[in-house]
């Protein structure tokens, strides 16, 4: 008797916990509301199945507890019941899979007007690069990385000259404008993750990966590394500041291009050489 009651309390407790939990997802700040709705849908369908199965189990525990003078039913199979359950489950699974795949289709197809952002990761930090006036990022190579070329841009690539370098772990994004995050890493796996944007993808050394989102809430957000990358993993934080167009333009105009940075280093070098000669 008490066994069934305790199991029943566990199920009721689970439901109450879900209703009253103070721990739930952060306010969404991107276009991926569809992910949240699919989670909610899965919660209702899956949670319903969980509760139903457990309640049925508890019912059996109450109703069919062992009695010496009773015998269990002898019925090895029930083809019809098994068929009904198989098809009902298949239907339920399809109902969950369909929205999942539809949203994944949106996730892998990046809108044409998305702004490309190069996110470069290393142990343990982030830096960012935006395309210049030509709208295209220059190609890169790990071997090119040096003080005067922090992103490893190929010096011969004309598209690279006007790229905007942001040697900071915080990047600003324009509100309501889709961004395509291009991820790369110079050493190990990392993952550029902002919980409020819901989206993520690993940065893999040796290749460039991508995902996209459209920020839709002005504010500051913390970037977390979501793929284990060694002992500094937990401390590998960064930031995103989502701004309105006007503020964003002001910020953008204050950033340095690759050309400007190269020139600065050249001047430093010349000055350095002069100093050395003196």
């Amino acid at each position: 008797m008490h066994v069934g009651i305790i199991f029943l309390l566990v199920i009721i407790g689970s439901i109450l916990f879900h209703i009253f939990t103070p721990w739930y997802w952060t306010d969404i700040a991107s276009n991926w509301g569809g992910m949240d709705s699919t989670i909610t849908l899965t919660f209702w369908v899956g949670g319903g199945v969980f509760v139903a199965v457990c309640l049925f189990m508890i019912y059996c525990v109450f109703k069919y507890e062992h009695k010496e003078d009773r015998r269990a039913e002898y019925k090895p199979e029930d083809k019809k019941l098994e068929k009904i359950l198989t098809w009902a489950t298949t239907l339920g699974v399809c109902a969950l899979l369909a929205p999942g795949l539809i949203i994944w289709n949106q996730y892998v197809n990046v809108p044409k007007n998305a702004l490309e952002v190069d996110v470069m990761a290393w142990q343990w930090g982030w830096q960012y690069r935006l395309p210049g006036a030509d709208g295209k990022l220059g190609t890169t190579q790990v071997r090119n990385i040096a003080d005067n070329n922090p992103f490893g841009i190929n010096p011969d690539d004309p598209f690279g000259k006007d790229d905007v370098m942001i040697e900071s772990d915080v990047i600003n994004l324009e509100n309501n404008r889709p961004v395509k995050i291009l991820l790369r890493s110079v050493d190990v796996l990392h993952n550029w993750y902002v919980p409020q944007f819901r989206s993520k993808m690993d940065a893999v050394p040796g290749t460039v990966t991508f995902y996209w989102f459209e920020p839709n809430k002005v504010g500051e957000y913390e970037v977390l590394c979501a793929e284990y990358c060694g002992v500094g993993h937990y401390a590998m934080r960064g930031g995103v500041e989502v701004q309105d167009k006007a503020d964003y333009e002001v910020w953008l105009s204050e950033q340095e291009t690759f050309e400007q940075l190269s020139a600065r280093y050249e001047k430093l070098n010349v000055d350095g050489n002069k100093l050395a000669k003196k």
Binding site: W32, T42, V53, R71, A72, P76, E82, D202, E227
Partner: protein
Amino acid sequence: MSDEYDNNKSYQAQSSEVLDGSAGSINPDMDYVRPAEIPEQDLYHAHSFIEKWIFCQDAKVIGVQYFLTAVFTGIVGLILSWLMRLQLGFPELAGFMTAEHYYQFVTMHGMIMVVYFLTALFLGGFGNYLIPLMVGARDMVFPYVNMLSFWMFFVAVAVLMASFFVPGGPTGAGWTLYPPQTILEGTPGSGMGILLMLISLSLFVIGFTMGGLNYMITILQARTRGMTLMRMPLTVWGIFTATVLAMLAFPALLVSAIMMTLDKVLQTSFFMPTILKAGEVLEYGGGSPILFQHLFWFFGHPEVYIVALPAFGIVSDLISVHARKNIFGYRMMVWAIVGIGGLSFFVWAHHMYVSGMNPWFGFFFATTTLIIAVPTAMKVYNWILTLWRGNIRINTVMLWCLGFIVTFVNGGITGIFLGNVSVDVPLSDTYFVIAHFHMVMGIAPLMVIMGAVYHWFPLVAGKMLHEGLGKWHFWITFLGAYSIYFPMHYLGFIGVPRRYFEMYDSPYMTSAVGMNEFISIAAFIVGAAQFILVFNIIKTLKTGKKAEQNPWKANSLEWYTSTVPPEHGNFGERLPVVHRWPYDFSVPGAKDDFIPQTTAPSEVAHTEVEKT
């Protein structure tokens, strides 16, 4: 058989009894069972203490050896989890622990629990003990290889434990061992630690292959007369399918371990692209880190089922015996086990939705993953339908089974979240994943292991474990484990990433502090509660009540041995002959509420038993 048996008499008595029973109005052909096709195997009987208890060729002793070694690693894994929870819940008390330590504990905990504890326990432990007994064989078909299998496992464990004591400590690369970080500085134990881990895994695979071939061939070739495949207990089906999976999946782990060893020692570049470390370009180039992930999960996902399928099988048998009812839909259960096993080789990349592989794979792997939910759900329905209209003994064994159903369904449902590609995007690499896989392949299989220990202990030791202690053990473990992992899902919803040594004061993560403290306290209690079982076993061995033969009134062959506990050779002079499936419980018209597998049809001709 050997000349050591002298109970010819009892055999003759038995067979004449059968003949008498079949005389008269009953057709004598109805008891016909095809004769054996191959002669019986010769057993090597132990002659000394060492041959009997150490380098032993008896599968039952090897099973116990596997069990005890696996439990030892499990206790190490448990202590590591305590240390992790201390850091997460009460970092001010864990001042001695650096981030390096924390990641080493995380890694070793994961690897130990999945491979050295669960896999070795289910297949090496229960597999060795139960397969020959349940299919009616005298032993495994290759007893010597079987002995080598255990000792190879033992060496693998020794190498693994040795890595705690080498310079730099054990590897802290996470149990998934993703390169490049695994073998680069910046990850703890990237020197000797990772090498020992890779060597230990390779030894484990070699040892396991020797055991696995034994399990498969014994089940296929050494079943006793009348034991058709569709009369095998589901325990055997689960272990058999899991072994086939292991034979196909472990090679992927072995080659990836070898390739990574070469990357580490000889600077090959299987998994290593061009890498810039501390301003220097390393001597690697052109390798693919994602290739490793494919190999790892081609092993890693079937590995989940290598643990789960034996658990499915065992729990089916426990529920059926203690509900005094046949397992509902036996054939469906068998096909579900085989189907899940087959499908498990086509879902591996659902661990890699956000790994940077070609995103179009997502459609395929989400679909295959959710298809697997259908046979799995059928199994759950059949378990609860077995309870339905049963005559359920609410004893310790049944409690563990009920606990299994609750935790397994819970973890199965959250698997549908993570398998459904776009839902996985926000949840992957968060505590939701931790909660999911601990519920479904940590706690749920553990519930089955415990149920199985209470169920088969009278067979192994000849004594009954104490029920009261068993119930305390169950309730603390079940309620405690549930309150660890159920709330943990919600940390994942917040977005708290896994493998974080410290949370810092991110605004949305600080709310998790209270919950982390609660989870840690629950973890300490649940861990400590496991020692109730240790106490119970010691107490029972010393002063416990002697078990009668077949105390649960089960039908399967392991309860019908010549002695309890069974001796070497298992079944006395003559192997049993099987006439039916092991689930003839509560047959209308029968005298008792169970009909053993060895009962001939003519003896129960007056009952409404169905032909199986």
